[in-house]
Symmetry: C2
């Protein structure tokens, strides 16, 4: 947590309702931080289904491996998350930590260890001693309450400057269900995945394979379309839990991903994933501007996304935006380095509504003053048309400021 809140923080946080079937407690385990919570338990009623999407890193953390192993069971009773230490690159001891934590969590909840899910975020490469928090789990499960979402969002923060929440109510069949989500960033954020940790829970009764289908499809244009610094964490975890508690009020159980009754839920879930992903971007380390990059006219959607990410990850593009400089030459550079099909003399580039380049050169109507005024905004939209095909994609990032370097440079000498 930082003393200075991002200028892009939401003006108002949503009031998070309870999700029937979910109880929450947090604690100060003192793993690294002092004077704040760093341990979260989310306890789920029996019958809760689960889906997850994890980092594509070849060197994932021990908790990621633990969750991947349990995911095929499709059933969850407790999620334990700690901040301050990622339990990543901790070798055999890392696995011992997840095993000990799972044993303690299973015992506290009265469930199988295969129904336990774990996540850790913070420093990489430092052993995480489960004795620091495993003894707290009995108490956490005992005192867990439905209405603690605000506390949950705070306990998982690391360098975030604000907690990230989203909530929605939608109809499943004729019955209103709730979806709540929390997330944390804020550096080492790149596809795929694009957040360190995010957890979403609902009382809708949805079978695990359907949940997984929705989540896997939902991340492509949301969490997997944001990047802060092109660095992919070893620990990225997005999980979706469905307690099914709404079944008692008459909500239909969904067992088929094509079920038409799911459409409103799916749209709301995708909106929530995008909302949480953008909150991560807007709290990117040192971020002062949100940047949306849309590429159209590419040979394919895949090609468009690659070009868009090349622009969004370019240090020279991102520093120019930090400097409020409409440096579209650097956008051309980033298109060129992506390695995807592109024809310089067909390119057109817009900053907001202003076309700055056309047919491979500066737009004849280009106005430095007008463009400079636009660059002062908090939210910058860059559009590039490649003029080759129909492929398009949008990704989001933030600017690259001196504060990013300061936060990560830890000039401790």
């Amino acid at each position: 947590m930082s003393d200075t809140v991002s200028p892009l923080a939401p003006r108002k946080q949503p009031r998070m309702p309870a999700v029937p079937g979910v109880r929450i407690a947090t604690a100060q385990a003192g793993i690294k931080y002092k004077g704040r919570t760093d341990l979260l338990a989310m306890v789920f009623d029996e019958g809760t289904t689960v889906a997850g999407v994890f980092t594509r890193s070849k060197c994932p953390s021990a908790p990621v491996e633990f969750c991947r192993a349990n995911l095929p069971g499709g059933s969850a009773r407790i999620l334990v998350v700690n901040s301050g230490n990622a339990n990543a690159f901790t070798g055999k001891r890392g696995r011992e930590t997840t095993a000990a934590t799972a044993a303690a969590a299973g015992k506290a909840t009265g469930c199988a260890e295969s129904e336990v899910f774990l996540a850790s975020t913070g420093v990489i490469g430092e052993p995480l001693d489960p004795a620091r928090f495993a003894h707290l789990l009995d108490d956490l499960v005992d005192r867990a309450e439905p209405g603690m979402w605000a506390e949950a969002g705070k306990a998982i923060m690391t360098t975030d400057t604000y907690p990230k929440y989203a909530t929605a109510k939608v109809l499943l069949g004729d019955v209103e269900v709730t979806i709540n989500g929390i997330a944390k960033g804020a550096g080492m954020i790149a596809p795929d995945m694009a957040t360190m940790l995010s957890f979403v829970a609902t009382d809708a009764p949805i079978d695990a394979p359907v949940l997984q289908d929705m989540l896997s499809k939902g991340v492509g244009k949301t969490f997997n379309a944001v990047t802060v610094d092109s660095d992919t964490s070893t620990s990225d975890t997005l999980m979706l839990f469905a307690t099914g508690a709404a079944e008692t009020s008459g909500a239909p159980r969904i067992s088929d991903p094509k079920d038409a009754r799911l459409s409103q839920f799916r749209r709301a879930l995708n909106r929530m994933l995008k909302n949480l992903a953008l909150q991560v971007v807007r709290d990117g380390e040192g971020a002062r501007k949100q940047v949306e990059v849309t590429v159209t006219g590419a040979k394919s959607a895949r090609s468009a996304k690659r070009v868009a990410l090349s622009i969004a990850n370019s240090p020279l593009v991102k520093t120019a935006i930090a400097g409020e400089d409409a440096n579209w030459g650097r956008v051309v550079m980033a298109v060129g380095k992506a390695g995807e099909p592109a024809d310089r003399d067909l390119l057109a580039i817009w900053f907001g509504g202003i076309r700055v380049a056309h047919e491979g050169e500066r737009d004849p109507a280009y106005s430095e003053a007008e463009t400079s005024a636009y660059m002062k905004q908090d939210e910058i939209v860059i559009r590039v048309d490649l003029g080759l095909g129909r492929g398009k994609a949008t990704v989001w990032t933030c600017d690259l400021t001196k504060e990013y370097v300061a936060i990560n440079g830890d000039y401790r000498s």
Copy 2:
């Protein structure tokens, strides 16, 4: 040019001898900079052969396209370089500028336009008016002299904080020949190529296909193994000119790349390319430390280079080095995100001679104090052993400092 010279600048510049068959002149054309030279003409005697390697950007500059078209002729009489404007993404007008410059240069030199080579460096996307300098070419060719290499290195600088020179004398057969090189960086430096501009000339009599063979092979472990910011310029150009003047003193003409008499020359050329490439890294924008990254034990050399570049381009690794923080957890992250074969629990990592991680966890003998002391050095060496195979590669980069952001952010608001 910057007022503050990089702390990694060479303590002493080499005295650059003349290269027989090469004459040089510079001028103040006032293209962008005031009070300094920004135009270079390098005039070659008849019979000079040429080789070149250029950016792999899909949106190359007009001069790069012009040089590519002339290169198959294998013959060079004049090189014209301007700084301050890259003539990149300038559309049809960009081609008109190269055509007009080539016509003026050919006329001044009395050669075909196919023997003219051009390079431009500076702002992208601004039209470059050839009238700013084409009229100066007659005078430049007239007053060109052999001993002007120091001036040549200065005229091509942009954000460089020092000019970059290298020189060597080697035997070709029994005859001593000279090789001189100049280069300029200093941002938008990434494979492939890894410098904005570099020009090397020799009086050795070497046929163009042999020159091209040596240059293409030489860049892999030199210019194509350095990165400042992962951003690839539209204008990267490396050219090698051989006047053949040493033939008159008895040097043998080399027509076969396998000619054994070439071995000393080839080694000297490769050393020079590495020397110039490292000078570019050491003058990377805002750089305060040179970083060498070696990956061993990869499945292949290609895989090793990809992992090494993933480490060298990671903003989180580079900011940690700027902060003199031996944050090997971020090195693990960068290994994991490279997408290449890697097994977390086989990884070993060294900072200098200190093994910080072994078999996927912190080395039992790890000493924070010893490692922190090492990180204060100017030149940091990171080695990662993947433990999978025999592939290895070394790349070079610099740290990422607040000054990089300041230089490129142009906080002009």
